[in-house]
């Protein structure tokens, strides 16, 4: 009896090993462990044996059954693994073939520079103000202490538009009129920057455009000094360009600031770059905005935003910014 079981186990092992796939395994499983299987049938005959023999055969029968079950499980697991591997192989992809270069769009490089500057000054406690691009003569010149016929007006090649009296309405030549609008709109303290688009009657070339962008800064508070202007621009220089840049102020002239200065930055290679005009807000400008120059003082600065964009990316022609060539735009 026991030898029959041993014999059966050997045959079962062969059958399990030769089952070729999971379907065959299901058949083998039912043949070897199902209701009509040898091990099931054998259990039914145990009752007819004497006690010792029943014990010996029963024990062996359990062992054989367990062994068959283990063999079946192992074989099934192996076959499942093979089937999964086959399926995975069928799913194989060449991912490089699928890389179609899906892309996001691109902010214009001027916008990127604009937002960087906004973020920097917002971090220093400034708000951001804007004003109209088509301005009146008062905000662009008069309130900024440019008397009529003053030669300083010639510093700006102004484009006028056909609105209102001739000469009354113009394309703003700088962002400085926004200073006036900010001061007219509310009481100091004012800590604000004013980015925007400006216009000059300039023929387009590598360094000039009839349209370009500036950013203006205005601080009006009690006790603001020229030292505050110099310190603020130095802090800006280091924050924007890096700790290895420094700045200097040189005397200059603008009707709306006094003392006035040019703001230069010193590059790490020791060369200087003229970046901005600045100065203490002229008392006449404060007075034009109904602010008492004895109570309030302030400083203002303004510089070209496009040039910062050109510098950052090594672009050598201002016109590229406005040409809108996709091969240019998609680089930033």
């Amino acid at each position: 009896m026991i030898s029959d079981l041993d014999q059966h186990l050997a045959e079962a092992a062969t059958a399990i090993a030769t089952a070729g796939d999971l379907d065959a395994m299901r058949t083998v499983n039912s043949e070897l462990l199902g209701k009509q299987s040898v091990v099931t049938e054998a259990r039914k005959t145990l009752g007819g044996l004497d006690e010792d023999e029943r014990k010996a055969v029963g024990q062996r029968l359990n062992e054989v059954r367990a062994e068959i079950e283990a063999l079946v499980a192992a074989r099934r697991s192996a076959l499942e693994g093979e089937a999964r591997a086959e399926q995975l192989e069928e799913e194989r992809l060449d991912l490089t073939e699928l890389d179609r270069g899906r892309r996001l769009g691109h902010r214009h490089v001027v916008t990127q520079t604009w937002e960087r500057l906004e973020d920097l000054f917002v971090g220093m406690g400034y708000t951001v103000s804007e004003g109209p691009e088509i301005e009146d003569e008062w905000h662009n010149f008069g309130a900024l202490n440019f008397p009529p016929d003053h030669p300083a007006r010639d510093m700006y090649d102004t484009l006028y538009v056909d609105h209102g009296e001739p000469g009354s309405t113009l394309l703003r030549t700088h962002t400085s009129p926004v200073q006036i609008r900010v001061m007219e709109a509310g009481e100091p303290p004012i800590y604000s920057i004013m980015p925007g688009r400006v216009f000059r009657s300039d023929t387009a070339d590598a360094t000039h455009m009839p349209v370009f962008h500036q950013i203006e800064g205005l601080v009006v508070d009690r006790g603001i000094t020229f030292g505050d202007l110099a310190g603020t621009l130095e802090a800006f220089t280091r924050a924007y360009f890096g700790g290895d840049f420094t700045s200097r102020l040189r005397p200059s002239y603008f009707p709306f600031t006094e003392p006035s200065a040019e703001f230069d930055i010193r590059r790490p290679d020791g060369t200087w770059l003229e970046l901005a005009g600045c100065g203490m807000v002229h008392p006449n400008v404060l007075a034009a905005c109904d602010l008492d120059p004895e109570e309030w003082s302030g400083f203002a600065f303004g510089f070209g935003l496009d040039r910062l964009a050109l510098m950052r990316h090594g672009i050598d022609d201002l016109r590229e910014l406005f040409r809108n060539d996709h091969r240019f735009l998609s680089q930033f």
Partner: protein
């Protein structure tokens, strides 16, 4: 303004290496645009005579020149200039010479012909900016003589300064020297010439009548006798050349020299040619003409100032240019020397109107020194005395109106309060005295008298600037004021960033066309032509301000297509300008967003808008078919948000695309950002997520083409009420079995309650409500 170091040193013992002095000038506000060493580095450059000129056998752009350097031998030079003739004297850089720019001259072959040196242009040897051809020398030099010796050149440093409009005093060598001396702490003085005087008093020689005292603040005349025309001394010619003026003859040269040195423009009349011995200063009559020194007949207007003679004939334009009729000539012996002060605004207007900017007008426009005439007259006579000219006694000096100069109280506290310095009263006085502002203590403050050469300084703040300038901006301690505000963007600015982010997230590139359009661009885009126009455009193509972003973007698409860049998706955020309603002071200017999807249809544009609405959380929008000029009449919808129109979505009209030359469909979105972002959006309260199961049902309706899907959806939403968790239009189908002119719209509705599991009965009930709502209100039939 250009200045030579040696010239500055005639006024003050300034010193330092050239670069250091350059930095000091810049720190004084006289920005140095160039520093050139002149009259040095010319060892090896000698005087040579051109013997013969021959074409180069193998080159068109160079010729062969034989020159003699004094040994009688013909030395062959290859030369790229063609302006000399046989017999001319020219500078030759001999073999072994190192030029000022570092180039070494060696014997070399050019296209097969030997060149034994180099002939020099003026700019190559630091003698002015002229680079057109070889410098031709006056015919009185010994051949082979070193050029520096022959031309009496001294090593010197030339500074090219940018002078701001508020600094007329720095339009003179003396003015620059004054600033530099103050900076270096050395004494400054203008030498006082005292030329001999002889002959009849000026007042007996001519009369002066100033008829317009606002135009002419001062008109001073002296007379010189024994004047003759001839070349200036070499040193003077060299200085004028270095400062960019061409030597002409000794009278003209002295006139220029005095102007450059002291800043006083001046004019010489041939006294015998002045009819009636009278000079009359008046405004021109409209249409009056005068022939100026340059031989041009100028027509004047009533705002120009003129100098007329005894017959009241104009013989010069005030402050701008003298006339031809009284010009100094070979026959001149007596000269009337005019030194005037003209009203800056009048001169500015006239110079601008006449398109005639001279060295004189540049100085008068900024405001000349009304008190320097006496000194300048004597300097003029001194310089001309060597040639035998004599100054006669007396000066005819008529005064008109010049700006009043009042004593200015300068408060020490104000100076320090504005600059952030801690200067004592007497330190401030010292700084001001160094530039000839005279001061008197007034308690803790100062009373300051402004010198006549500083018309820009008229108020306390002007003096504060001078204190800062002479003290040195770089010496003022830097501080950073602590903003008492919270730095922030406005909600609009924050939202605008979200708009750009959404567009970039949709794969669109931001474009920035110029906001100028050509006439006709708006009409081509189907828009009204009544745009704001530029009154003084540079070119007609840039004479109209855009009333819409559409033309600029379409041109951008065309530009890219011409470079074979098709099917671009782009967006722009920018201002548009329109005529305002009523009598507004400024045009109606607002910020728009526009999106163009080349090669895509209206559906893609709607997708961009819904993404935008999602980004802004502005979900209560409605699209309604709309016909608007320039956009596709059957593929465009007006966008309403909360019932307010904010823009259009759809496609560009094919006729407009043809007009611009765009050869693919263009999906289009345009939004008035100021309106859209001004409407309520975002900030919705949190709605808890239901923990109960949901049930989905699908409903398909056959609907005629005239009924918008949005209407069906609206009825479904209303009928489903609070139980509706989600609604999606998942299929649109046309064709059999759906009847012609109709289509099937299939929706999935998901129902869910916050507080319970919905029963089948509840779902069936709400389903029925939905069906009844749609079928009852719209020409729609539920499909089986």
């Amino acid at each position: 303004m250009k200045v030579l170091l040696s010239w500055l040193q005639e006024f003050a013992p300034v010193s330092g290496d050239p670069g250091e002095i350059g930095d000091q000038l810049s720190e004084l506000g006289l920005a140095v645009e160039g520093i050139t060493t002149v009259g040095a580095g010319l060892d090896g450059v000698v005087v040579a005579r051109v013997l013969d000129l021959r074409p180069h056998p193998d080159a068109d752009r160079i010729q062969l020149v034989d020159v003699d350097v004094g040994d009688g031998e013909a030395l062959q030079i290859c030369c790229g200039a063609f302006n000399m003739s046989a017999g001319d004297l020219v500078p030759l850089a001999t073999l072994g010479t190192t030029m000022p720019n570092g180039m070494e001259i060696a014997r070399r072959k050019m296209r097969g012909e030997w060149s034994n040196g180099m002939l020099c242009a003026a700019d190559e040897i630091g003698l002015g900016a002229d680079d057109e051809g070889i410098l031709i020398l006056d015919d009185d030099h010994e051949l082979g003589r070193p050029l520096a010796e022959a031309l009496e050149l001294r090593p010197d440093v030339l500074y090219d300064l940018e002078v701001n409009p508020n600094r007329p005093d720095a339009m003179s060598v003396a003015g620059v020297a004054r600033d530099l001396a103050a900076r270096q702490g050395v004494p400054f003085a203008r030498p006082e010439p005292s030329p001999d005087e002889a002959g009849e008093d000026a007042a007996r020689r001519l009369t002066v009548d100033v008829l317009d005292l606002d135009l002419c603040g001062r008109f001073a005349v002296r007379v010189l006798d024994g004047v003759s025309i001839g070349p200036s001394p070499r040193w003077m010619a060299n200085r004028l050349t270095a400062l960019g003026m061409r030597p002409i003859n000794r009278v003209v040269d002295v006139s220029n020299y005095v102007m450059l040195e002291l800043g006083q423009p001046n004019h010489t009349y041939d006294l015998d040619a002045v009819q009636g011995g009278a000079l009359r200063v008046r405004r021109a009559t409209e249409g009056e003409t005068v022939e100026t020194l340059d031989g041009v007949v100028r027509t004047l207007s009533a705002t120009d100032g003129v100098i007329a003679d005894g017959n009241d004939e104009a013989i010069g334009i005030a402050g701008i240019m003298g006339g031809a009729s009284t010009e100094i000539s070979e026959s001149t012996t007596s000269v009337a020397l005019e030194m005037a002060w003209w009203d800056p605004i009048s001169i500015t207007r006239s110079a601008r109107r006449l398109g005639l900017r001279s060295e004189a007008s540049a100085r008068f426009e900024r405001g000349a020194d009304p008190e320097v005439a006496d000194l300048a007259m004597r300097r003029f006579a001194e310089l001309l005395a060597e040639s035998g000219a004599t100054l006669t006694p007396g000066m005819v000096d008529v005064r008109g109106n010049t700006p009043a100069r009042e004593t200015i109280r300068v408060r020490t506290d104000r100076v320090n309060g504005l600059l952030g310095t801690g200067l004592e009263r007497d330190e401030i006085a010292g700084l001001l005295e160094s530039i000839e502002f005279s001061t008197r203590p007034a308690d803790d403050d100062l009373d300051v008298d402004i010198p006549s050469f500083r018309p820009d300084s008229a108020t306390e703040i002007d003096v504060v600037e001078e204190v800062a300038r002479i003290y040195g901006y770089h010496r003022i301690a830097r501080t950073v004021p602590q903003s008492t505000l919270t730095g922030s963007l406005t909600p609009y600015q924050t939202d605008r960033r979200a708009v750009r982010s959404a567009m970039v997230g949709m794969g669109l590139d931001e474009v920035m066309p110029v906001p100028f359009l050509a006439p006709g661009d708006l009409e081509r885009a189907g828009l009204e032509s009544d745009g704001i126009t530029v009154s003084n455009p540079l070119v007609a193509e840039e004479s109209v301000m855009r009333a819409s972003l559409r033309p600029g973007i379409l041109k951008t698409l065309v530009y890219n297509a011409s470079h074979r860049l098709h099917s671009l998706g782009v967006f722009e955020v920018g201002h548009v300008y329109r005529r305002p309603d009523g009598n507004q002071p400024l045009p109606d200017e607002r910020e728009h967003l526009a999106v163009a999807l080349a090669g895509q249809d209206a559906g893609a544009a709607v997708g961009v808008f819904s993404a935008l609405a999602d980004a802004l959380d502005a979900r209560r929008y409605h699209l309604a078919a709309h016909v608007t000029p320039g956009l596709h009449p059957t593929r465009t919808a007006q966008i309403d948000v909360d019932g307010v129109p904010v823009g259009y979505v759809g496609e560009v009209d094919p006729g407009v695309l043809d007009a611009f030359g765009v050869d693919e469909r263009v999906g289009w979105l345009e939004v008035d950002l100021e309106v859209l972002l001004g409407l309520p959006h975002g900030g919705r309260p949190y709605r808890p997520v239901s923990r109960y199961p949901s049930s989905d049902i699908d409903l398909a309706f056959e609907v005629d083409e005239a009924t918008p899907a949005a209407d069906v959806e609206a009825h479904l939403r209303e009928a489903a009420g609070d139980l509706l968790a989600d609604l999606t239009l998942f299929d649109v189908f046309r064709g059999a079995p759906v009847a012609d002119g109709r289509r099937s719209l299939a929706f999935t509705l998901r129902f869910q309650a916050d507080d319970r599991t919905l029963t089948d009965g509840e779902v069936a009930e709400v389903r029925k409500c939905c069906i009844d709502a749609v079928q009852g209100s719209l020409p729609a039939i539920l499909r089986g």
